[in-house]
Symmetry: C2
Subunit: 327 residues, 2 copies
């Protein structure tokens, strides 16, 4: 039975109605002392102590960013939250509050929405953030729209601060989710560790702030592919990044998938996103916090004959790892 | 030619690609002094001077909340912004910044996205708010996801503060957009004033703050139907609202549509949303600011034999104006 066809006895969004569903979802969202007005009014109101707010927004579309037969509802909720929390992480910040918009077909089981929202709230709770508002409406496919608010205790860490002479460093697993996706795309469910990594990423939530405190000069969240995100950082900073292939961990499950599918394991690492690893640059004298590994060096734009800001691997343009594009 | 099939020469989102389109959209969004980090990094950063932030989020789905053959792209952008700005208005606040998420099919003309975003930014500029971030991705139908941030100069105005003895008051046009929708739904394009009111609402943006300053006790944005929003306010406050039919303006275009379609003009006013009028309660001694008109009275819950919080019109339950439900 396809996931969009619930058992006859299972209540759907249409059965329960907008406000009935919203009541069930809101009940899943604990509030905290920063919340002056929580869900249920025209808007929420949050206390802001630090003089600024960091904000980011992302959409996840069924069939594009997730499939209901590849990941459970709770997994999808975890992923939707992780993707947004990671953006605050990449600013060196701490997420404080999120809004969750859900557009869905009327025949969607209420249980799917409830489990998704519960997974979403659980992921947020990992970093101490709360869900303060949302919207629920009807659409042909499931679309999850998230906005996250946060704060930095230091100056926000941008993509544009990398300097020639800096080192390039990575925090968090990288390539695991891409490996899981490769497996699922071929109809398999193992190696389990990779499939789980795709379904429920484990972003290095402490690494953003710790990297910032250690003096990181630029940082970006690897959501759409390592080389493509490295390219964004290189362009924003006006520099050249050269990565070293041997610096990357190629753990056993990645090698197993590579062997089984004929994909190069390094390719999964360089092209993969969805793990929400962080890529950053640090002065070469900086002591890197735990969890960060050096994977390359920053050169001036034009290094090694490249035209303008660019990314190379071992001094050469790397073929076939262009990252995820949305169109 | 259906609106989803662009002329062959017209570039589509797929032609220009994610980053090409984003560049065009971001160019439409002027920033201001509150913006410490604008679009283009992992997140935006806004200066917050008042110790709190007001936040609300909404989704608009093609075919559900708008049709591309009923409203131009710029109109859809204006409506998407208005719907969200109005939520801050209903808190007695001032909107400062918004994010704009767009999910769309690859064959959508770039010009549609650009005109929508331009209309969106224009509406935001009316209240001095700026667009600081967004997301662009692929979906089968157009979905617009907006989050608005703002601030209040007084305590946020909730739905829950109405007291028996208060008066009920309305600010802004009401029923006009519903009249326009009724006309469009029958394949007509006039009365022009109503069709335009549907396409591009004119929310009373000053009325929220002015109402708050005049001592309003509760306030709500009429987006889904006057009686249904009045019901939300009545429940949140634990009171009974009795509206007076004769208090509502029934302007000539509404009467013309009523005569032409057989719909009662008062019904368009009581059941209609989308104008983003404000409904509020004030102490009976308050001097109402310009633009607010008294349309009813607040009684204790259980008034006139009703069970619990409820809304009546001239003391009786009003049939057939249940408001918009999303499922």
């Amino acid at each position: 039975m396809p996931p969009s066809t619930p058992a006859a006895s299972e209540p759907t969004l249409a059965d329960l109605g907008e406000f009935g569903v919203i009541d069930r979802l809101v009940a899943l969202f604990p509030q905290d002392e920063q919340v002056l007005v929580g869900p249920g009014d025209d808007a929420a109101v949050l206390r802001v102590k630090v003089g600024h707010v960091v904000v980011s927004t992302d959409l996840m579309v069924e069939g594009r960013h997730f499939r209901r037969d590849w990941a459970g509802a709770a997994d999808v909720g975890h992923r939707a939250a992780a993707q947004n929390l990671s953006d605050i992480n990449a600013m060196g910040g701490r997420a404080t509050a999120l809004t969750l918009g859900l557009a869905a077909p009327p025949h969607l089981p209420v249980s799917w929405a409830v489990e998704m929202a519960a997974g979403f709230a659980e992921e947020c709770a990992q970093v101490g953030a709360v869900v303060v508002g949302g919207d629920l409406t009807r659409a042909d496919q499931v679309v999850i729209a998230v906005t996250v608010l946060g704060a930095c205790t230091q100056a926000p860490l941008l993509r544009s601060g990398a300097e020639p002479g800096d080192v390039v460093a990575l925090a968090g697993r990288q390539g695991w989710a891409a490996g899981g996706l490769a497996v699922l795309g071929r109809g398999f469910r193992s190696p389990r560790a990779l499939v789980e990594a795709y379904r429920r990423p484990q972003p290095p939530y402490a690494a953003g702030r710790e990297g910032a405190e250690a003096g990181a000069t630029a940082m970006i969240d690897v959501s759409d592919g390592l080389l493509s995100e490295a390219g964004h950082l290189a362009h924003a900073s006006g520099v050249h990044l050269d990565l070293r292939a041997e610096a990357f961990d190629l753990p056993e499950p990645l090698q197993a998938v590579a062997a089984a599918t004929g994909v190069d394991a390094l390719q999964l690492v360089l092209g993969g996103g969805d793990d929400h690893a962080l890529l950053a640059t640090f002065p070469s004298t900086a002591a890197l916090p735990m969890g960060w590994i050096v994977v390359g060096e920053v050169h001036e734009a034009g290094w090694s004959g490249a035209e303008g800001p660019a990314v190379t691997v071992d001094g050469a343009v790397h073929e076939g790892a262009t990252g995820w594009t949305h169109f």
